[in-house]
Amino acid sequence: MQRYLASRVLALVPVLFGILAVVFLLIRLIPGDAVQLFLGTQVEMTPAQMIELRRFFGVDKPIPVQFADYLARIFRGDFGVSLRTARPVLPDILTRLPLSFQLASLALAIAVLIAIPLGIVSAVARNSTYDVVARITGLLGLSIPNFWLGAMLILVFSRFLHVPLGQYVPLSQNPLLTLRSLSLPALALGVAIAAILMRHTRSSLLEVLGQEYIRTARGKGLRARVVMLRHALPNAMIPVITVLGFQMGYLLGGTVVIEEIFALPGMGRLVLQAIFQRDYPVVQGVVLVIALLFVVTNLIVDVLYAWIDPRIRYG
């Protein structure tokens, strides 16, 4: 297991390097001069001042040197300074990280809670009316834009049910209020994942239920409940976990859109605000942090997968 873990971590190095290169190059892709773009058309500068400013931003050196500087700064935890507030970028991102992370986690939890039971019932009652209805509902869930679902949830709860949505309260202050403020956004975000997980639970379980060891388990007189919980389900969940890993990207990226519609002060709103203010160091910082979170969660899923299924470790 340790060797597997080490090889997985080692395989991440080129990917991390690539992520850093992409985030670094993002700013170089801006058409025209980034410094001029930041200044806008109102500010008049003398050529000498422009050179000074270029030196300040470090864009006067060759690109490879700039990249090396960038890497060195990132490894020191220096994500640069906001062009608007002049504050270091990283602390601002880190204060907003918990909200986005809690939102994504809660969405995942909601998706799993909806998907696994429905997928099991769908597989067991294959081709029944229930199965057909569940599968069509699943396809609908996959087709709803998450931000529209969010808007509809706000509409229903505030206009018709008169339930105030409540402001975000940090977990450390009152976990119940945190849960309350994040449950609707998490539902809007989690529905598509629930649909995907349900489909995979169903098809994976159907495959396992056709295996010989399930027939053996039934043949030796085990109760249906035991066959399902001890033999079928654990094996059926293995491929579902891989799917879960892929979906972490959807959840982390989706927080940007969902935070916007529910006016939640997370990393997503920070990055959108920064985009419209042309505050590129903040944009770079948030994109980097979310990509790193995605890579780390994928690693955790991979390791979990290998821990559950020894065939992966020794394969």
Partner: protein, 267 residues
């Protein structure tokens, strides 16, 4: 179930394409014509889907919006298919350093959440339809590269490819005559599923103000404008969302049906 619902998906898509093509002819009102007297009218009263805050007809805007959503989706998936299939086929066929290079590049794109990468690309390139197509196209390229590479690897080792080579066929001929026909099935399935994702991405980007810009109506920016009057005039947000859902459902139904037909593993 799927083989019965795939035709439904096809009908939904065909109907939407028809509406998009005929939109300029069939819209009941000019999409940019403002009627301040009729602002925020509820559905009915000469406006089937109601009006927005400028008194513009929501139905007409939804119909015209399909043109932007569908054309951006088709063009961006076309970009992904051309780019991804070329990279994947050549990577799988030639192997070696080219394979390593292209697939690592694909891994890096995959290491970003799709919508976040599209947001970042739009943020630096600026909002235009061409950039929108490029951003969504890049984000969904790795899927096609992986599918094409896997197919190329399977076919590469088969005897008929050896036979073709023994007959003196060049690499280009082998790729064109023997590899491409064998990747068409998995690519077709992926195209249908990617179209649904591309429509969702376009509407999300436009919703955030990073995609199609007003006054050109697109389903995403209509939702963004309608959101400001959510309680007062919910129809402004409801109908564009329903339109997105319907088309995406159509592509998902079709993609599912095609997958069952062409790839029987997931049933």
């Amino acid at each position: 179930m799927h083989n019965r619902v795939a035709p439904i998906g096809l009908v939904i898509i065909a109907a939407n394409l028809g509406v998009a093509l005929l939109a300029p002819v069939i819209v009941p009102h000019d999409v940019r014509a403002m009627h301040p007297v009729d602002a925020l009218r509820p559905p009915g009263h000469g406006y089937l889907f109601g009006t927005d805050e400028f008194g513009r007809d929501v139905l007409s805007r939804v119909l015209m919006g399909s043109r932007v959503s569908l054309s951006v989706a088709f063009l961006s998936v076309l970009t992904s298919v051309l780019l991804g299939t070329t990279l994947g086929l050549t990577a799988g066929f030639y192997g070696g350093w080219w394979d390593a290079l292209t697939m690592r590049a694909m891994d890096i794109i995959f290491a970003f959440p799709a919508i976040l990468l599209a947001i970042a690309i739009m943020a630096v390139l600026g909002t235009s339809v061409a950039n929108l197509v490029l951003a969504i196209g890049i984000v969904y390229t790795p899927q096609f590269a992986r599918v094409a590479r896997a197919a190329a690897l399977t076919v590469r080792g088969l005897e008929f490819v050896d036979a073709a080579r023994a007959l003196g066929l060049g690499n280009a001929r082998i790729i064109g005559r023997h590899l491409i026909p064998n990747v068409l099935a998995p690519i077709t399935v992926q195209v249908s599923l990617s179209l649904s994702l591309a429509i969702l991405s376009e509407s999300a980007l436009s919703f955030l103000g990073l995609g199609t810009q007003p006054p050109t109506p697109s389903w995403g920016n209509m939702l963004s404008e309608g959101r400001q009057f959510l309680e007062l005039a919910p129809w402004n947000a409801v109908f564009p969302g329903l339109a997105i859902m319907l088309v995406v459902l159509g592509f998902n139904l079709l993609g599912d049906g095609l997958r069952d037909l062409l790839d029987p593993r997931l049933r």
